[in-house]
Each structure stands twice: as C-alpha cells, then as structure tokens.
C-alpha cells in the first residue's frame, strides 16, 4: 500500500442554517488504496463528511484536497469525475434499464450529442458489461428495469456504475444499510476487491461494527461531528466501541441516557 495521501481533509467545519454543528474541526488523511471505514451512530456526521469530499456538501470552513487537486468551485467538475459515489438507497433510475444505469456512470466523459442518442462508445459498453459481470449479474439483466431487481442486485448495479470512470476515490455512504447481513458481506467484498484492482481509495461509512472490523483497513470513529477514534481495526476494542455508542449526544447539550425510546428515534433519524 502506497502512503501518498489521496484524500486530505483539513479542519472541516459544518454548521447548518439552524445552528446545528454537524462537523467540528475534522482532519482526515486517507492514503491511496486504503479501505477506510467511518463508523458511528446515526447523526454523527458520517454522511456529511463523505459529501464534503466531492462537494455535495459545502463546509463552513476547511480545506479539501483529492488526488492533489483542491476542491474549489472551478475544480469541482474535474474532481467529481475522479470520485465515484455509492449510495445507501442505490439512487438508480428505477424505470431505466440496468444497462442505461451503468452507462450513465460514464456520462461526464460522453458528449452531449452522444448522451442524447444513448450512443455510448463501444469501449464504454464493453466496460459496462465487464463490471456487471464482475459484480455477479447476468447478461439477461442488461435490459431489465433497475427497479425490478432486488435490493442487493440494485446495489451491485450501483457499484458497477461507480466504477465506470476508473475512480481514484470511491465514497460509499452506508452502502449496505438497507440490505441483510449476508448480502451486505457479499456487497462489501465486491466493493473491496473492485477497488483493490484499481488501487482506488474507499471511504465507506457504516454503522455495523462487525462489518467495519471485518472490511476496514482502518476505522475512523465519529460522534457528534467529531473524530473520536482513528486506528486499525485491531485497536478498536469493545471498550472503545461502547464509548462510541453509549450516551449518544442528541445535540441538546445534555447527554440523554440511552433508553428504548431514544433508540427508536436514532433509527428514524438515519432515514
């Protein structure tokens, strides 16, 4: 694993319009090829942090650098081509075919006229087929509507789409949150292997501790918008785990004891 830094976040702050602090002075440096898991309870700022990397969320303060390119208004478009994203709810065009969804991952490199006719380059078609096979789908899935597939299959399509532009960085925002444990494991294995082939950096937010320990090269624990743990999975023992999850701060200033009610609210807040 090379040690050159691929993603560099410096002193990121984010305050929402209503005054809520989502991110508080977050520094993070992820080297090339690392599978970095961001772990933490819902509302910890994992999603916000991921969305800062490709500029979907504009931080109130702080610097973002990806592949040596600083994120500014001008460089945003260029930077986003190198940063793929995998979403919790798959975010596929459900009425479009699987093929169209995967090919749409190559859109930034396709001319408008070609996009209008759906006339993708032959290499792009070949690549789409390659990745669909790679994620375990069959040729007969190509022309099925994406919405007809099961959740696990849809996320496979999402992964194939993400790899269409040979990304340097893959952001995976709770990629398996809506899938069952066995399929979650399959999907994360796929993601990790595909990223390793390209030597791509993966920043993956998760809330399942066992998956984080199994797949992460490194675990970054977050709570209330702050990084509270950063280290190898082996260092992430049960004591640290309970400190990460117990007494979750609800942002009211006063820590509330964890009760059944607040656990339910936590689940609702993650939607």
């Amino acid at each position: 694993m090379s040690q050159t830094s691929m993603v560099k976040l410096g002193a990121i702050e984010k305050t929402w319009a209503d005054g809520t602090r989502a991110l508080n002075n977050v520094d993070l440096e992820v080297p090339k090829g690392q599978f970095c898991v961001i772990l933490g309870p819902s509302g910890a700022g994992k999603s916000t942090l991921l969305r800062a990397v490709n500029g979907l969320m504009r931080p109130t303060a702080g610097k973002i650098q990806v592949d040596g390119l600083e994120l500014t208004q001008a460089s945003e478009r260029e930077l986003r081509k190198r940063v793929a994203m995998i979403h919790q709810h798959f975010n596929l065009a459900t009425r479009a075919s699987v093929a169209a969804n995967v090919l749409s991952g190559a859109l930034p490199e396709v001319s408008l006229a070609r996009a209008l006719c759906g006339w993708f380059h032959p290499e792009q078609r070949k690549k789409a087929c390659h990745y669909l096979e790679r994620v375990g789908l069959k040729p007969e899935h190509l022309h099925r509507r994406a919405g007809e597939l099961s959740g696990g299959q849809q996320q496979r399509v999402g992964i194939a789409r993400a790899f269409m532009l040979d990304p340097k960085v893959v952001l995976a925002d709770e990629p398996v949150a809506s899938l069952d444990p066995q399929i979650s494991r399959d999907i994360l294995t796929l993601l990790k292997d595909a990223a390793r082939e390209l030597n791509a950096t993966v920043i993956c937010s998760l809330h399942q501790v066992d998956l984080a320990r199994e797949f992460g090269d490194r675990i970054v624990g977050m709570r209330s918008g702050e990084v509270v743990f950063d280290g190898a999975p082996t260092e992430f023992d049960d004591q640290r785990l309970s400190r990460l999850y117990q007494n979750a701060d609800w942002g009211d200033g006063e820590p509330t004891p964890v009760t059944e009610d607040s656990l339910e609210l936590e689940a609702a807040g993650g939607m």
């Binding site: 999603s47 478009r77 994203m85 798959f90 975010n91 065009a93 009211d252 807040g269």
Partner: protein
C-alpha cells in the same frame, strides 16, 4: 439523509390531548354564503328559465301541453338536416379539368333538362325555354370532400401537437425551479407559459387568421401555442417532483445538468409525458374541428360555410363525419395506450 439530531422533549413534559368536532359556526356561515351565491348566479345565468323551458318540452313530448319553443326549434333543425347530403352534381361545361374517360368512382354523367320562363325580346311574350345540360353526378362526391377536409383537420391536430411538444420542452426546462438557470428565467418561463395557456385557441386563431390569412397555418399555430402552455406547465412540474435520488447520483459524478435530466429524470417522467401528449393530441383533434369556424382551415371552415348558406343537409354529413373520426381515434388511442403500459 439528514444528519441533524431529532430534538427530544425533556422527560416528564405533560402533553395536552384535544380533539374537536369537525364543524363549527364558521363552516355554517360559509355554507349559507355559498348557497346565496348559487342562487344569485343561477338566476343571472337563467338556470330557472332553463328548468321551466325543459319541463315544458318534456310535457310537450309526453302530450301534456301543446306548445314548446324548445321542441319546435329542435324539430325544425332536425327536419332540414335529414337526410344528410352525400352527392354532388356539377355542370360539365363549367369544369376545367373534365375528362369523360376518367370519371371518379361511382360518378356518372347525366343530362338534365331545365325549363325556364324567359322574355322573348321580339314578341315581348313570356315563353318556356328548355335547356339540356350535361351534369357530372357523383353519389358520394360530398362524402369525399368531407373526408378530405377531415384528413386536413387531423393533420392540423397532429402538427399543432408537434409544435406544442417542441415548444414546451425548452420552456419546461426553464420553468422547472430546480433546473432553471436563475429566478429571472424561471419567472419569465412561468409567465410565458401562463400567458400561452390563458388565451383560448379560438381567440388566438381569430387573430392569426388576420396575420396569416384563411387556412391551416393559423389553425396549427393556435393549437400549438395553447397546448404548449398546457404541456410546458405539466412537463415542468413533473421535472420538479421527480425522485431526487438518481439525480443526486449523477450530480455527484459531475455529469452536468442536461445529462442528469436525460438519464435521471426522463426515465421517471416519460410515461406521464406520453399520457399528457396523448391527451393533447385528442384535445387538439376536437379543437381543430372548431378553429375552422373562424377560418383557420379544416372541417370547421367547411361547416361554417355550409351553415351560413343554410345547407343543413351538408352540415349533417359534416357532424356525422366529426363524430365518427373522434370515436375511431378514441378507440385507436385507447388500444395503443393499453399496449404501451
């Protein structure tokens, strides 16, 4: 996904539960006001007189009273409209392109004798003169004319729809708040769409006939502009309401706005777009028969001409043709739609 925490009320807070009756005095007052409004407007639109005249007509039909203005008017029209006019006859001598070897199907040449009273200038006496004229008699001649006009009407409806679709797609882009470049373009596009939709086709056609002269140009433009107002609004609202998730996925890789709409919005809204456009085509066909009344081409222009010349037999043929066409197209579009969905 929101990362903001959900505020939790402090423990021990008493909540006040309260469930009201659905109606209050306010609602009774509103109901009385609506009733009063109905009575006033009903009188102003002569709804009371309509009821009494209709009652009279029904009484006349079942033999209870002898006089009904409604029945008299209707029966007069019905008498003069039946039978529908189907044939045409034209004097051969007045036709420029008459060719005795190539007559239209079913047509034949007849000679007709016409006797007229004429003043003899030498004797200063009235005498009967009999003239024989060759006449081309076509038993289905008028049906053919009406059919031709109906096809023209169909073409006006089709081109009106094409014009509306091609006008409303760029309009919808600027009128969708999430894709319009800025507030100014959004407001302008919305305003223009409202303007297009607010003027009825018939009135637009009236003015366009002044600009482009009698004929289908005015019809196509009038239908296209009005329908563009309708389609622009609905297309834009569908773009605004489309599921944001796939759009975010393409935005995240920097695909650009136009490609995002093409690949993340269009697949979602396409079935609705097809339905709107089919409705507009259906509506345009009915409207195309009407805009002819002000001279904008198609069957309406023929209808107006015949009506003004009191040729009620011809009018009947035209009405039957319109009914048949609309009915057949309804069946056809229903069949196409059931196959598409």
């Amino acid at each position: 996904m929101s990362t903001r925490p959900i505020p939790v009320p402090p423990q021990g807070t008493r909540l006040h539960w309260h469930l009201d009756q659905p109606f209050r005095l306010k609602h009774l007052v509103i109901a009385v006001l609506i009733l009063a409004l109905l009575l006033v407007t009903g009188h102003r639109t002569e709804m009371d007189r309509m009821v009494s005249m209709t009652t009279q007509a029904v009484g006349n039909l079942v033999g209870l009273n002898d006089e009904s203005q409604v029945v008299r008017g209707l029966s007069k029209v019905a008498d003069s409209m039946w039978p529908p006019q189907m044939a045409t006859s034209e004097e051969v001598a007045r036709m420029n392109d008459f060719n005795a070897d190539e007559l239209p199907v079913f047509a034949r040449v007849e000679s007709r004798e016409t006797t007229t009273q004429r003043l003899n200038e030498d004797t200063l006496q009235l005498e009967s003169v009999t003239e024989t004229t060759e006449v081309l008699y076509d038993p289905l001649g008028y049906v053919k004319t009406v059919f031709g006009k109906m096809i023209e009407t169909l073409e006006i409806a089709l081109w009106g729809t094409l014009l509306a679709v091609s006008l409303s797609i760029p309009l919808a882009w600027f009128a969708a708040s999430n894709y319009s470049p800025n507030r100014v373009t959004y407001t302008l596009a919305r305003g223009f769409i409202s303007l297009l939709r607010s003027v009825p086709e018939l009135i637009v056609a009236l003015f366009l006939v002044l600009a482009y002269g009698f004929g289908p140009i005015a019809g196509v433009l009038a239908l296209g502009m009005h329908a563009a107002g309708f389609l622009g609004k609905f297309y834009a609202e569908d773009i605004e309401n489309a599921d944001k998730q796939p759009q975010e996925a393409l935005e995240a890789i920097g695909a650009g706005k136009i490609k995002t709409v093409l690949y993340a919005v269009m697949p979602q809204v396409l079935p609705q777009y097809v339905a709107y456009t089919a409705y507009i085509l259906d509506r345009n066909l009915r409207m195309a028969t009407v805009v002819g009344l002000v001279g904008a081409g198609g069957i309406g222009q023929e209808l107006k001409g015949r009506f003004d010349m009191y040729d009620y037999g011809h009018v009947m043929t035209i009405l039957i043709a319109i009914f048949l066409f609309v009915f057949l197209l309804d069946q056809l579009s229903a069949r196409i739609r059931s196959r598409m969905i």
